[in-house]
Symmetry: C2
Subunit: 405 residues, 2 copies
């Protein structure tokens, strides 16, 4: 498929929607013009066709949390350096950063290509900003918007990986990062890393408020301490009118609270429109998805670390991520598997402010999965996905197509 033809029309025939009904898609100029049964028959035979062979047409994945600047993908395998505390691992990462060759543009670019091939068409990347690296990492990731913007939509968070209070000058750097083009202000364990809950939150909320942008805060602090910080974040979100623009990533503490503490914390998050990002972590408690959603808290998924100084694991496959969440939350029914799929598609899309649904007039971003239902796709995790963006097929069978690169 040439780029020229892609600006014209495309018909996707013999596809199925999530409920199993057979449908066709008619696409022109990157937009869905018709979706439903029989669209292929009403279209001229001259129009290029893609036979979905009965596969499910569904929303593309959105990765709500990763680190394009950290990944070591594209380099030889790097044995993990252990560190018992977050502080020790931050230092270990800095050592690895000095040792690892290969610029962020190469490593981050390789990662983007890998995840687009698996169906991810939008992402939110945290990018380290600290007194050592300054804004260099951010500038590199912003350059990926240029070099890889034809593959994926990139949102960036200026992330104070070394703390705000304990790394002097970082608050000013975060402010400069937003001015330089970062989309959101980040944060990190106000208690656990900075040892100053008010100082940390006051600083990052002030920057967000000044620029009128949202926040996405890493929170690993456990139990009642983490819950207290969540409520502090909710209070500040409402005070500054940032409802719907704030997310907290990880929030392991939500998985280990008693009923009363959980209830008042979840209600505070819901009232402030603070969303929770989870990877479905294995070794620690995780936010209970259904319980949070029943109280009105938005939950979404991301990959987090992918082959970097924090973990040798990870591949950015959001279909696998949906299955991991099912495993951790004991999701087995079709309805539950569909809910997990939504955590990797429509939920992060909404948090990123992206329209992701398949409807007439929408951008023709979608994927076709060889399965009879969304549930079967989540359970089987097929790699033979066909990934379309703006009506152009970018990837098939887990590999980028030349035309898309």
């Amino acid at each position: 498929m040439t780029e020229g033809r892609s600006k014209g029309m495309l018909v996707v025939s013999n596809a199925r929607d999530g409920s199993g009904g057979t449908i066709d898609l008619v696409i022109s100029e990157g937009t869905i013009r018709a979706i439903g049964p029989g669209g292929a028959k009403e279209t001229s035979d001259d129009v290029p066709r893609f036979d979905a062979e009965g596969g499910i047409v569904c929303q593309p994945f959105v990765d709500g949390h990763l680190h394009l600047d950290k990944t070591l993908i594209g380099l030889p395998f790097f044995p993990h350096v252990e560190g018992e505390t977050i502080a020790a691992r931050i230092e270990a990462e800095k050592r690895i950063r000095r040792q690892a060759s290969g610029p962020i543009q190469m490593r981050g670019g390789r990662l983007i290509e890998q995840i687009v091939a698996r169906g991810t068409l939008a992402l939110r990347s945290h990018v380290d900003v600290d007194s050592g690296i300054g804004l260099k990492g951010l500038e590199s990731v912003l350059s990926l918007k240029e070099s890889h913007g034809h593959l994926v939509d990139i949102q960036t968070v200026a992330f104070p990986q070394s703390g705000v209070m304990r790394d002097a000058g970082t608050a000013d750097l975060l402010d400069a990062a937003i001015a330089a083009g970062a989309d959101l202000v980040g944060g990190l364990d106000p208690a656990g890393v900075d040892n100053d809950i008010d100082g940390h939150l006051d600083a990052i909320f002030a920057i967000a408020s000044k620029h009128g942008v949202g926040l996405d805060i890493h929170l690993h602090d456990a139990g009642a301490l983490g819950a207290f910080e969540l409520r502090q974040i909710a209070t500040r979100t409402r005070a500054l009118g940032l409802e719907g623009k704030v997310a907290v990533s990880h929030a392991f503490c939500l998985g280990e609270l008693g009923d009363a503490d959980f209830g008042r914390t979840a209600e505070a998050l819901a009232e402030a429109g603070v969303a929770i990002m989870t990877t479905g972590p294995g070794p620690v408690p995780m936010p209970p998805v259904k319980r949070l959603k029943s109280i009105g808290v938005r939950v979404f998924c991301g990959s987090d670390n992918i082959r970097d100084a924090w973990s040798p694991f990870g591949n950015g496959d959001m279909l696998e991520r949906a299955g991991i969440v099912c495993d951790r939350q004991n999701f087995r029914s079709d309805a539950d598997l569909e809910e997990a799929f939504a955590l990797t598609t429509e939920a992060p899309a909404a948090v990123l402010g992206r329209s992701n649904s398949l409807q007439v007039g929408a951008r023709a971003d979608f994927q076709i999965l060889p399965a009879s239902s969304i549930a079967e796709a989540v359970a089987s995790r097929p790699m033979d996905r066909a990934v379309f963006r703006n009506g152009v097929m970018l990837a098939r069978g887990g590999r980028l197509l030349q035309a898309g690169v």
Copy 2:
């Protein structure tokens, strides 16, 4: 590669061992004749060669726990039927068993082909034995030893899925199952399912003792109750001289005990040589691998349910299983990833009484993984594996070769 040639010689060149050194393997008549640097050079050019292209040569996987009779692989996707209790799910499974078409030989055979293609060359399958199905399931699985014995070594456990005391006649059926060729006696939650710890354990240990075979007991019972049952199992194991022949599968309780209860339970298991099988479960506590091993308890891995009435998930990939255990146990260093790999290779091999190591004189069962180290293989989970059994390549790239079928 024809079967005739495979009885002759084969040289695997340009391979690497676990520590990264380059080695060759010289194989004849299904046996490793030489292993080390330079073996290829000393062999006549007429001998068929396989270029490992720098990949790691390592032990094949052994799946220490699955259910060949339960899998629905090969059938259309079957939505999961929910059941809050184990009893409700046992009944749901019986309903599905009546509805699902396709004999065990077909479904179990398909599963074997899938896991052999991913590097598993030996397995322990539990097989339901109850008053409804009698020994029919066992007979079907035993027939897979004939039809699929060229691919995989199969060990069977007569598994009382419906209980022993609550399903009258099952004890006699278990006795008959061993006489008919099952290798071990199974068990299931003496308290949780049968509500009779002594009655259940007395019955199954009596059968094992009578036939001189081992046991492998499913134990989901939680906390102090599960720990009590583990100690009861250890006591009976020693009383009957069955040390080293008894395993307990799941034993979630070991992941949620206080130090004192954990200590005395683990010591009892170690003294009785009772091994623990874990899948690295997501929604429940899991046995702490390093802590158990430090006390002398053998731990090994299995897949358990693979696309059956109990779970729509699962693919039998033991390299993925090693990664799941790493995730749950927070294993990240190279040494930890190697330990997880051992849980899927040498540990289950030892429990199954199988020699699995690569040395001169051993059966030429091995796999070649495209990675620079075992740790990288566990982290990357490559599918391009070359799987050899008796010196014959059975599978490559995740697919069985025709010659192997």
